[in-house]
Assembly symmetry: C2
Homo-oligomer: 434 residues x 2
């Protein structure tokens, strides 16, 4: 599903910070360029009070790495950035190293080795910005969206926040929200590029365009059928519902309410619809909903939610804060050692320990080569994603990643699904490391 | 400058919410499609406690409207969304209406008519999502960036947040930050696409790659010259500065410190550099800086700042919250009238009133046709941007918009530039409207 007609073949090579190329140039000149390096992507902490993070963007990243090539246009743009011999080297660049990582849709915790990029220094250093942009954005959206899915408690959610974020970020947001369990998106490019179901019928503008509300509803029913969703809060909601049923009959698909005290309005709407015989007509709520508002509507007769701003902005945490750190050079662990922002050197792996019941207990992060006990219920977290520059066959589809997250959330101890602020749902244990 | 080789010609038509096309199909069927409509983009309020907003993204929007065409690939993707006759109509679509708006780089306040799109219903309704995505994103970034520029009080700022946001949003963020007065960006695509100066030399990884810090510094100086910026906080900062001057000589361009108590470290670094004779070596600070941290460093010997996460995420306000509302149909004012989220109907314009000293006093929003007094120091805010589907010649360049914002910020009453939370810097007065 990845790769639309409009993105296939377009180079991703300039989604890169200048310093990666100046480091590369200097390393080519001084002979360190071919040192064998391990870079690791991890989050030092979760966003304030969050209990888990959701890995998202992996498939997008793998596809973007394949398009990370410096063609003649990219090289021309870099003529003032690096020297001619570096340009020549870039012209031949193609990532030829390995990538391992947590599967997309998996949970992560502070210190989890989410992605490990292995190769020569120059092979791996240039992927820093692209990797972080994709993982930080998509994981932030998926992490927020997963909390909304939990809050909705089985009721469907529609992502409709495209207008509140960058036009391309909107497409990735729709994908991340779907991964997290949303049912559909309003974004048409997300359907084309990622195969995500789209939804949407009409805005207030459609009602205002017409001479009266009934004309607008009749027109919509005529064009989209009585199973459509009519937006009933342009004028008086009670009157809107009456006209909606008048236009579509008691078989009307749904009414949408986008403003006001949504809980009260949902109860009134349900009662009114039932009174009109429209007992199967669904109630869709939208309008500044976030995970807390969704949770507060749990007792109301709501059938689905439309969520915009809060999901595409990560509901207070618009970036996941992951970093891309060099941890090993020619087999030697390396790490920054000044005052703060310290890192743990050396290539790492992780095992998630589970009770026999399937409930997760802890995230054990350990040196990659060291022996580690893996019990019958435990799971080694990273999987191979790229070998010698080629994406490993069998990387999960979006549907599989969606199912993976669903299952992962079931494995979290119950406190981990609370919306309130707290500690990570699983403790990270660093084993065999200073 | 807009339009890179990789974006030119690519359709923007699917950066659209499905409901725009279903409304369009219904309007084509019922005969309301050609009603003359006015849509208005405005913000009901500024983000929590902010005193002004900065209009950004206008030039990107105008260029994206030119690429808003449904080619064969887009039409194929919509085969299940709308009926065949609507598809045919879309195939011929080209925006042929008018757009007026606040020039890019201008300040806006609650209710300011930031953009006005005029045309038939179907002409204008399909631009809702694209317009809002671009304006909401770019304005959020520019609005946050402008506060950082004020906090930096003349010291240069480098935008280096690409890794914390979607890879395409990163390019737009770099542009918006530059518009707001940042000096440079780390993002190479932003240089190619928008002509923004790039900066960047090395990360901690470069030091860790080498056998020791001195080798790394020598390599960097050899590749980039002694005027480069050396990152001195990988190990011990004091020792790092000593080695940096040893490698580059007292003519070293700059040292960068990315962690720790930055104010204290800057003072110590200045003293040490001066003692080593490197009196002209600049001090660059980075690491989780936002406008408040920048302001708190005002008394320290800092020469420039690198800003990442906070600028690309809008420093707590990742979206500007603008809406796109139908306000007029065939000359008749229209507006939603239910419980909340009310809007004012009718096409509007705005005049900003100024004292003779050049200080702005108030934002007067009024019906577009109504007579309004425009004093000798006052300014009519909207300007023509598109006429009959064609971008008006002379739309400002990015450099001109940058200068416009700089001048606009000078015109704001002094309280309006405070970083603390407060009321909008200018009151919005709705004149001649209910």
């Amino acid at each position: 599903m990845t790769g639309s007609p409009s993105s296939a073949g377009v180079s991703t090579a300039l989604f890169t910070d200048r310093y990666e190329l100046t480091m590369l140039a200097a390393a080519l000149a001084d002979g360190t360029a071919t040192r064998h390096c391990v870079f690791e992507v991890f989050a030092r902490r979760l966003p304030d009070g969050r209990r888990y993070g959701v890995v998202a963007g992996t498939a997008r990243l793998l596809e973007s790495i394949e398009r990370f090539r410096f063609g003649s246009e990219e090289l021309a743009a870099l003529a003032d950035v690096v020297d001619p011999s570096t340009l020549e080297w870039l012209g031949d660049y193609r990532f030829s190293g390995d990538v391992d990582g947590y599967p997309e849709g998996e949970l992560y915790f502070p210190g989890s080795p989410i992605l490990t990029v292995t190769g020569t220094f120059v092979d791996a250093v240039v992927l820093e910005t692209l990797s972080l942009s994709i993982l930080n954005h998509d994981s932030a959206i998926a992490s927020a969206a997963a909390r909304m899915v939990t809050a909705a408690d089985g009721r469907p959610l529609i992502e409709m926040g495209s207008r509140r974020t960058h036009e391309a970020a909107a497409v990735a947001s729709a994908r991340a929200a779907y991964l997290a369990g949303f049912s559909a998106t309003s974004n048409l490019e997300a359907e084309r590029r990622h195969g995500i179901p789209t939804a949407g019928t009409a805005a207030h503008a459609f009602t205002l365009l017409h001479d009266d509300e009934l004309s607008a509803f009749r027109s919509q029913v005529s064009a989209l059928g009585p199973q459509t969703t009519l937006l009933v809060d342009t004028y008086d909601i009670r009157r809107g519902i009456e006209l909606a049923v008048q236009a579509a009959g008691p078989g009307l698909g749904a009414v949408r309410i986008d403003s006001g005290d949504l809980g009260v309005l949902a109860r009134q709407a349900r009662e009114q619809l039932d009174g009109l015989g429209a007992t199967a007509t669904r109630i869709v709520l939208s309008g500044d909903l976030d995970e807390y508002a969704i949770a507060s509507l749990r007792a109301e007769p709501v059938d689905s939610y439309g969520v915009g701003t809060s999901v595409v902005t990560g509901s207070g945490a618009p970036t996941a804060g992951m970093v891309y750190k060099l941890v090993e050079v020619d087999g030697r662990p390396v790490a920054k050692r000044s005052a703060s922002k310290e890192s743990r050197g050396g290539r790492k792996s992780a095992v998630r320990r589970f009770k026999p019941t399937g409930t997760a207990i802890e995230e054990v992060v350990h040196p990659a080569g060291a022996p580690i006990e893996v019990g019958p219920h435990d799971r080694v977290m990273p999987v191979p994603l790229v070998r010698d520059g080629k994406t490993v066959p069998g990387v999960e589809t979006l549907e599989q990643s969606r199912e993976r997250l669903r299952a992962a959330l079931v494995s979290v101890p119950w406190e981990g699904l609370k919306l309130s602020r707290g500690e990570p749902a699983l403790p990270t244990v660093f084993e065999g490391m200073s």
